[in-house]
């Protein structure tokens, strides 16, 4: 009993350690990657005793700056809600990782340890639900600031998030139909099958359109370019205008955590989760030809590493998207969401259903 709790706590430490560190490093990676993409060098001036290590001190310097800044609460606003909103943003972004499986079940000393913090049988619904709860941070932040522009900004953000939440939910339905489960562990396991004996049956193969829709909607959920109308703090007055110091930092970190979370969900649903092609729980194999056995712990470690790498790749890819595309105009954004994404998501469900009926 106690051992179970300790094991769960260790898993939580590993997963949240990974997510929070990646999120912090993303704030550095965003600057550096955008710089490299644009033939620049990027932030490299923060130095400690003359060491600059490619600007890696900048996230630390930022944090120190945020923590020591004045924490200002609008006097006319609601102090409690104003303080709660950034926490909600962080919490809803972080908690999604609780249901994402990051490895095959580990058999150690006669125990079966599922490498997933909480094996909920409503995994996907949990993700969508907490994505939905994320609106509240936005709406509450704008409302409690007692600033008309913040309120308008939060309404704008909420409208965007709700529109894209719909497309997000509908695009996942395809995956649920194909793998016949809404448990993420089952979905990851089902992606270890092969079609025609050698093509891994990953979500991207089974649901290419679903992947595109899901990814687009998920980027819109993270409120990043090209859907960054809610934030874009330099040009548009958004919902966190009245925030300063670490509370602003919490929104900012929440955004990066959302990026990691979206990368995790995309990996789990569409890129085989922790599956490595042609590695199963016996070892390296090629269907119908040969099998090279490997020790169990090594395979699990490889799978966890594969999951981490896939997540990092998607983080990289989302930064690439963020620094490539221009922003949508608000009417384009809404039209794109309602007149393009939602019908396509419905069409995707229809086509998936037809395929499943025929084959």
């Amino acid at each position: 009993m106690y051992l179970d709790i300790i094991i769960t706590l260790i898993k939580i430490a590993i997963v949240f350690g990974f997510v929070l560190n990646v999120a912090a490093i993303l704030s550095w990676a965003e600057r550096k990657q955008s710089a490299v993409m644009q033939d620049r060098i990027g932030a490299n001036r923060a130095d400690v005793l003359g060491f600059r290590i490619f600007g890696l001190f900048h996230p630390i310097a930022d944090t120190i700056k945020m923590l020591t800044k004045e924490d200002w609460v609008p006097p006319a606003g609601d102090a409690f809600v104003h303080t709660m909103a950034p926490f909600l943003a962080l919490f809803t972004a972080l908690v999604v990782f609780a249901v994402i499986p990051f490895g095959d079940t580990l058999h150690i000393a006669g125990r079966d340890i599922p490498l997933q913090i909480a094996d909920l049988n409503v995994g996907i619904l949990f993700i969508v639900a907490f994505g939905g709860l994320g609106f509240y941070s936005v709406v509450l932040a704008g409302w409690s600031s007692e600033n008309k522009y913040s309120l308008l900004g939060s309404l704008r953000a909420a409208a965007q998030l709700i529109s894209y939440e719909l497309a997000l939910g509908l695009s996942i339905v395809g995956i649920v139909m194909v793998y016949g489960s809404i448990e993420l562990d089952d979905i990851a396991r089902a992606q270890g099958q092969y079609i025609l004996g050698f093509i891994p049956y990953w979500g991207i193969i089974a649901q290419p359109l679903g992947f595109l829709l899901f990814f687009t909607a998920a980027v819109a959920e993270t409120k990043r370019v090209p859907f960054d109308l809610p934030e874009s703090e330099s040009e548009i007055i958004g919902y966190f205008t009245e925030y300063s110091g670490m509370k602003f930092g919490a929104f900012w970190m929440g955004e990066f955590i959302e990026v990691v979370a979206v990368a995790g969900v995309v990996t789990a649903l569409y890129f085989g989760g922790w599956q490595i092609p042609f590695v199963n729980n016996q070892g390296i194999f090629f269907p119908g030809l040969f099998t090279i056995p490997l020790p169990h712990v090594l395979i699990v470690l490889l799978q966890v590493a594969a999951f981490g790498l896939k997540v990092l790749f998607f983080c990289w890819f989302m930064l690439l998207v963020r620094w490539t595309l221009p922003r949508f105009r608000y009417d384009q954004l809404m039209a794109f969401g309602w007149k393009f994404m939602v019908p396509l998501a419905l069409l995707n469900i229809l086509v998936t259903g037809l395929f499943m009926y025929v084959f």
């Binding site: 490299v36 033939d39 595109l212 690439l320 490539t324």
Partner: protein
């Protein structure tokens, strides 16, 4: 006002292909630049730049040979300023940033010398008129330097001693017609 709207073609209005094209460009830049950044770490391909950035205080763009930089006062062979405190530069300066206090020179041929000579670079507009007005070629703007930032306005007023110490940029070309190099060798007025 004429508003020109561009109709998207069907392929463009699908966004997907255009986005893929854009991502391809940026990803290509990323991979290429990363390749050279990493190669530089290992000392390879130093001649191929991985970024166009010039890291300013450490690296500087070479300035043109005729570029007007910070002021400098030429000196006589004995080290005293060549300036005769005629006030021409102070008078001609459009923003009044030169302040000279004249004193009597022991040599009756020279008559005057600057007791103090301040150039307030916070006001200077780098027009170069002081340089042109000077009858004895005492003030030059051939140091090739830009003013260093200072913590107070006083830091940005350059005094005589400082101005005397400055050296000309090597190969400075005073004008297109007379490609003189560096400070003048002979004293034009026999002073």
């Amino acid at each position: 006002m004429k508003i020109v709207t561009q109709k998207l073609t069907t392929k463009e209005s699908l966004y997907f292909f255009e986005i893929a094209k854009g991502l391809w460009i940026t990803a290509r830049h990323f991979v290429k630049n990363m390749y050279f950044h990493i190669a530089h770490l290992y000392g390879k391909y130093q001649e191929v730049p991985a970024a166009v950035t010039i890291q300013y205080p450490e690296e500087k763009i070479p300035v043109s040979k005729r570029w007007r930089g910070n002021h400098r006062i030429n000196s006589r062979p004995d080290g005293s300023p060549r300036c005769v405190a005629c006030m021409l530069c102070e008078t001609v300066c459009p923003v009044q940033c030169i302040h000279i206090i004249a004193g009597e020179h022991p040599d009756p041929n020279i008559e005057k010398y600057p007791v103090s000579f301040d150039v307030d670079v916070t006001r200077c507009c780098w027009c170069g008129m002081c340089e042109e007005a000077c009858p004895v070629d005492a003030i030059y703007m051939d140091t090739g330097k830009t003013p260093e930032p200072g913590y107070s306005r006083e830091d940005l007023v350059y005094h005589k001693e400082q101005l005397l110490k400055e050296t000309p940029l090597p190969n400075y070309q005073r004008s297109l017609n007379t490609p003189g190099q560096g400070p003048m060798k002979a004293n034009p007025m026999g002073l």
